[in-house]
Amino acid sequence: MSRRLIPAYLWTGGRTHPSRNVLDRLTVLRAATDHLPSDLTSSGRSVLEILQHGALPLAEVAAHLEMPVIFVKVLVSDLFDQGLLIVRAPAPVESDAKPDQQLLERVIRGLRALQ
């Protein structure tokens, strides 16, 4: 594990809060358009560029761009507000405080198939 001091600079064009707090590390992101507006911040552009070739969860976009997850949440929230991204929140793994049985059976089948 690496720990290093970082300056608290903002890569996010001054925005500090994600406008949507539903964004999760596993929220799936897709580009809504292949047209990149000319007034994007360079970090916003990086997010859209990596999504031109496929869909990725938010945490993976952050890792590829070497940006902290929280910064990417803010960027993604902004890009979503501008209609540039399609986002899909992860489905819950529980209902009524019980793990989703069908999901678990599917996971077990999938793991056995890899053995």
Partner: protein, 200 residues
């Protein structure tokens, strides 16, 4: 920026693939990085989380200019179980000083695989303390090294204070088959314990 950028293998198999979070934790140096590398079918990644000096997780950027923050790099991997489902493995530090990060990362997780090293079992006490506070079900995987002493199972269970139903299995984090066995033991345990029976 990553050179994998142009590599299409980094993307989800399809945009509708369901992603399920699984926590991989344990003490420093226990093999979290290794098992995630073994199981992931994308090149393993490092995600960065921002924390304040007091250990709080930074969840917005207000006033950050005036605060000293640190980043914590976490191992991350993803394994597809068909085109419709993937497990996303979040390597999570098992030390108490990362309590806030633990609480945050474990939200929405299916369960946790806790790695332990029998050569230094006392290193696992902190992570066992963390997980007992959570509504998170788990299995213990003993990452066996060539020089690991072999203790009787009951002794190890007692040392880790495991509930009788909690699975404890041996694996080699470098080896795909035994690492898959460990995940499978976790998933089968989750299916077998539908209620919060693990909670004291």
């Amino acid at each position: 920026m990553d050179s994998a950028h142009s590599n299409r293998d980094i993307y989800l198999r399809n945009p509708d693939q369901r992603l399920v979070k699984v926590i991989v934790s344990g003490p420093f140096g226990v093999g979290k990085t290794t098992i995630i590398r073994t199981l992931s079918d994308i090149p393993p990644l490092r995600t960065e989380e921002v924390m304040t000096e007091t250990g709080a997780v930074v969840d917005h950027l207000d006033g950050l200019k005036d605060k000293t923050t640190t980043t914590v790099g976490l191992d991350y991997g993803r394994m597809s179980l068909g085109d419709d489902l993937a497990l996303c493995l979040f390597g999570t530090p098992g030390q108490k000083r990362f309590q806030a990060l633990w609480d945050d990362l474990t939200q929405g997780a299916l369960g946790a695989l806790i790695l332990a090293d029998t050569r230094r079992i006392a290193d696992s006490y902190e992570v066992m303390g963390l997980i007992e506070r959570q509504d998170l079900r788990y299995a213990v995987a003993l990452n066996l090294f060539p020089d690991s002493p072999r203790y009787p199972e009951e002794e190890l269970r007692a040392a880790l204070d495991l509930a009788p139903e909690t699975p404890m299995i041996a694996c080699d984090a470098r080896d795909r088959r035994t690492s898959l066995d460990a995940l499978l033991a976790l998933a089968e345990h989750l299916l077998a314990v539908p209620e919060f029976e693990q909670q004291p």
